[in-house]
């Protein structure tokens, strides 16, 4: 945390601390231990009660206020909830949700798939998932759809090859074009890849970091390499599924 000529001090999370997001996340992990992968959702017990334990945690972190402020509290809640999975969902102040949109118009191309069906499935999978920043998902039945898959946080686009999955797009200021994460032959595979991407984002993004900014910070190729690891992709998707 000490600034050196090569490494400037990180921007503090808020005025309660000098810690930046990376340091805070790491120290929280160290204080409660890394999360386990859950085979099903019933095999863990939250070990921290925010009401009871937060003052002590903040004290250990050298926080400048007893209960944190409106800026840092959601951040701490989020990291405790997502990266260590040790608190009850009900206590969390930082819920940012996923919005899934689709368009089922019949496009001119012959390879139309059921965008509405996939979108409904995805909503069911992801309902209630806590995200670091609001996430917009678009499912498009083909090119030319009103839902432009290339400018969504995650876009699923029907193609002759199946579903193309894009990530890191943004349709508003600043406009960003999403990159192709992968191509899935089936709806199940498409859902798994998109879920894995969301979970990797949950695990590695800073709180309040939009998905497009996260892809730029990690590097798109690095994200692709991680998510196209078949085993890890399934594990990440399963973790998201177990969490919600």
């Amino acid at each position: 945390m000490v600034a050196t000529p090569d490494k400037p001090a990180p921007m503090p999370v808020c005025s309660c601390t000098e810690l930046g997001h990376a340091e805070l996340k790491e120290m929280l992990n160290n204080s409660v231990g890394p999360r386990k992968v859950h085979v099903d959702r019933h095999d863990y017990q939250p070990v921290i009660s925010l009401k009871r334990d937060l003052p002590l945690i903040l004290q250990k972190l050298g926080w400048g206020s007893e209960l944190g402020c409106t800026v840092c509290r959601p951040v701490i809640h989020y990291y405790l909830q997502v990266s260590t999975r040790t608190i009850h969902d009900q206590e969390i102040e930082s819920a940012q949700e996923i919005q899934v949109r689709w368009d089922n118009q019949i496009p001119l191309s012959s390879y139309a798939r059921d965008a509405g069906g996939l979108a409904t499935q995805l909503r069911t999978y992801w309902i209630g998932a806590v995200m670091p920043s609001p996430v917009s998902i678009g499912v498009a039945p083909g090119p030319g759809s009103l839902v432009s898959a290339l400018v969504q946080d995650i876009g699923l686009l029907a193609s002759p090859a199946g579903w193309e999955i894009y990530a890191g797009g943004h349709a508003e200021h600043p406009v960003k074009q999403g990159g192709l994460l992968g191509v899935a032959e089936t709806e199940v595979q498409a859902a798994t890849l998109a879920s894995a991407c969301l979970q990797w984002y949950r695990q590695t993004a800073w709180y309040d970091e939009p998905l497009w900014a996260w892809t730029e910070r990690l590097g798109f190729m690095s994200i692709r390499e991680t998510l196209l690891d078949d085993q890890l992709q399934r594990e990440l998707a399963a973790t998201l599924h177990a969490d919600i």
């Binding site: 001119l108 999978y125 085993q231 890890l232 399963a238 973790t239």
Partner: protein, 717 residues
């Protein structure tokens, strides 16, 4: 979603002291070391892969080699045999699998004869396995039907080399000779993407002042290092070679002394070329005559020079002849048999060279011997301890074998190290044929497209686990040591063959404890043949880090530079080719474009291995189709749009990528040929279905993977 998570404890850390890349024909050496094990749901494993200096790769690695361990360590590896029950593949024991094979083979042989069982190999198998596969077919099964996927690789160059020089070895020179060449012609070979670790040899040649000419319809990565790029119309390579030769003759740049002393057939060749009109020929090639002439003069005037070809020239309907027309240039200018000179066929598969020397081919016995030659049969039979009369005669090539499968003359097929339902031409016929089989066995590391169709799938070891020798593109034999124990119930492919042989009552002929035992028998079986390995031993390979064949005695150094004194024909002379090439004439107004295909840097063959390596799968995701901008404009196709390609054989979809390609062609990726090719017609993204059944009897060796197609603009993205 039906998701599950496994969190098995991690085994002890992987450390492979020295192994060899499983991909291309350079066979780069490397170490693989695990830094951190994968953590379930948290991160991938971390590995360090470092090149180990050896003569060919000099310690270099490309992105494929750097990430090759990923497929070998993939969770998708097959770990136990699978047998089809009630339509589904289920795990079974090795005992059951081998018993099943022996019984089914016996039943089918009783009903239909020994030739009803076919064996289909591959160019990535070790020399030991390739050798044993040939022996297994002839001795254990008694079938004449064995062949391998090398027919769709460099076979045209192999047969051309045999015909012209009397010997087929990939390079007639050493890689270390390349920087000594004054002029280098690279025809239909994209070394920068297919054998990237060789590129520094060419850069070094350039630094030494070499003039580099690339002949390719595509502006490939290799073309970017060229001094001159002849963007030939697809299929016109032989005519281009003729045009260059005529220009060389006209300029008086031939070597009359070499022609007189070391060759025959030049008179006929001169007559054949007498009528060639340069301007017309250049037009047919789609290349400016001035440029062709510039290339011809550069090659003709250079003191030393080399010509290299690869699949671009070889995998055409008339590929065998196209190569021979390039060899005319080599002979006429006397640029072979001395330093800085020669011809090279840049083999594509890891053991494309060794795999074609020891009996995997239908007409061949070990050491490049002929199965139709009585003396060769008698010699090999004596090594194997069988009656020469018991050896079957020659079978048919890989392409024809699939026709025999389709006709149900072959009712059982053992596929080892190949994925024919994707890689063969005319995949519809192949797929139909494989479905008709009574019994299909596939030995593979993964559930490839072909394995998915099998009745029995046998799990084999990967490059890190399977010891054996491989012969690189130069003809240098290299030993790949075992780097780690075989995982799960996987077995070395040669071990599987021995087990089947034992079960069918031929154990006495298949008594080997190690790959080295097989190699020692191969040495004797190849002794005195064209590809003589007798002088090469595992011990020598360990101390000398590779030995060139031919090597007839333990003290023999092996021949790096071939044909210094004489060629391998009985009279010691090389043969000019004066028969004209038929070229490519099947383009019609309805289907005006010619398909060319090739590798992209991160991928190999049909992608069974590279698509399962996350770092490679993450690269070159798009199934692109390259077109000339004018062709694209004519069909109103824009960058990134999906297009449908149609031929008389079928259709597929791809994404258009802008590329400076000759206007008569379009390009697709070889590794994407199988993508979704199993779905309904018209909805495939693999180019496989459009590849035609084009096959020219004359060459006897070659099948075309060139298709004609029409561009159809299907969407508006």
């Amino acid at each position: 979603m039906g998701l599950s998570v496994s969190s098995e404890p991690t085994a002890s850390k992987l450390y492979v002291k020295e192994t060899q890349c499983p991909y291309c024909s350079v066979q780069c050496k490397m170490t693989v070391e695990e830094l951190a094990a994968p953590v379930a749901g948290q991160r991938r494993g971390e590995y360090t892969v470092q090149g180990v200096p050896n003569e060919a790769s000099q310690g270099r690695l490309c992105v494929k080699g750097m990430n090759a361990h990923q497929h070998a360590l993939s969770g998708q590896r097959l770990m136990h045999p699978l047998i089809r029950r009630n339509g589904e593949l289920e795990p079974c024991s090795w005992g059951e699998a081998i018993q099943n094979i022996a019984e089914r083979f016996r039943q089918l042989k009783d009903s239909y004869g020994a030739d009803t069982v076919g064996v289909y190999g591959g160019g990535s198998l070790t020399n030991e396995t390739a050798y044993l596969l040939g022996k297994f077919a002839r001795v254990a099964l008694g079938t004449k039907y064995i062949d391998y996927n090398g027919r769709f690789c460099m076979s045209a160059a192999a047969s051309a080399g045999s015909k012209v020089f009397g010997m087929d070895r990939g390079l007639t020179f050493r890689l270390s000779d390349i920087p000594k060449a004054g002029c280098i012609v690279l025809a239909g070979t994209n070394i920068a993407e297919c054998q990237p670790t060789l590129l520094p040899y060419f850069n070094q040649a350039k630094e030494n002042g070499a003039f580099i000419i690339v002949i390719d319809p595509r502006k490939t990565a290799t073309a970017t290092i060229a001094d001159l790029h002849l963007q030939v119309k697809p299929g016109m390579d032989a005519l281009l070679a003729d045009t260059m030769l005529k220009a060389i003759m006209d300029a008086g740049l031939v070597d009359p002394h070499f022609i007189g002393e070391r060759t025959h057939g030049y008179e006929q060749l001169m007559q054949e070329l007498a009528d060639l009109q340069l301007e017309q020929a250049a037009q047919a090639c789609g290349v400016d005559l001035a440029l062709i002439r510039q290339a011809a003069i550069a090659y003709g005037e250079a003191e030393t020079g080399m010509i290299m070809t690869a699949r671009g020239v070889e995998q055409q309907t008339d590929g065998h002849m196209a190569v021979r027309h390039f060899l005319n240039l080599v002979l006429a200018t006397g640029k072979i048999g001395r330093e800085g000179c020669g011809y090279g066929a840049i083999t594509g598969q890891g053991n494309g060279q060794g795999g074609r020397e020891h009996g995997q081919k239908a007409d061949q016995l070990p050491g490049y011997r002929s199965i139709e030659n009585e003396a060769d049969r008698a010699y090999v039979a004596s090594v194997w301890g069988v009656d020469p009369a018991s050896l079957p005669g020659k079978g048919v090539s890989a392409y024809e074998m699939m026709e025999k499968v389709h006709d149900q003359e072959i009712r059982a097929l053992l596929v080892m190290g190949s994925n024919p339902v994707v890689s063969n031409p005319n995949v519809r016929l192949v797929e139909e044929g494989l479905r008709k089989l009574d019994f299909l066995i596939v030995a593979d590391m993964f559930l490839s497209e072909t394995a998915r169709m099998a009745d029995l799938v046998l799990p084999v070891t990967s490059y890190m686990e399977n010891e054996g020798t491989l012969t690189n593109l130069e003809g240098r034999v290299l030993l790949r040591e075992q780097g780690r124990p075989a995982p799960g119930e996987t077995l070395d492919d040669w071990d599987i063959l021995c087990r089947i042989a034992a079960k069918v009552g031929k154990a006495a002929y298949f008594q080997y404890d190690t790959a080295e035992d097989i190699f020692n028998e191969l040495r004797v079986a190849s002794r005195g043949g064209v590809a003589d390995y007798y002088g090469i031993t595992y011990e020598r390979l360990r101390t000398e880090k590779g030995v060139y064949w031919p090597c007839s005695a333990p003290e023999d150094q092996g021949e790096g530079l071939l044909f210094g004194e004489r060629f391998a024909h009985p009279d010691g002379k090389a043969a000019f080719t004066f028969e004209s090439s038929t070229g490519w004439n099947d383009v019609t107004p309805e289907f005006p474009l010619i398909l060319t295909n090739g590798r992209v840097l991160p991928h190999y063959l049909t992608g069974v291995q590279t698509h399962r390596s996350p770092a490679l799968a993450a690269r070159e995701l798009e199934n692109f189709v390259e077109l000339h901008p004018a062709t694209a404009a004519r069909h109103r196709i824009h960058d990134g749009e999906w297009v449908e390609i149609q031929s008389v054989y079928g259709s597929f979809h791809g994404t258009f990528a802008h590329q400076r390609l000759h206007s008569g062609g379009y390009f697709v990726r070889t590794d994407a040929l199988g993508w979704r090719s199993k779905c309904e017609p018209g909805n495939s993204t693999g180019a496989g279905p459009v590849l035609p059944n084009a096959w020219v009897q004359d060459s006897g060796r070659n099948h075309s993977t060139v298709a004609i197609g029409e561009m159809i603009h299907t969407d508006y993205r």
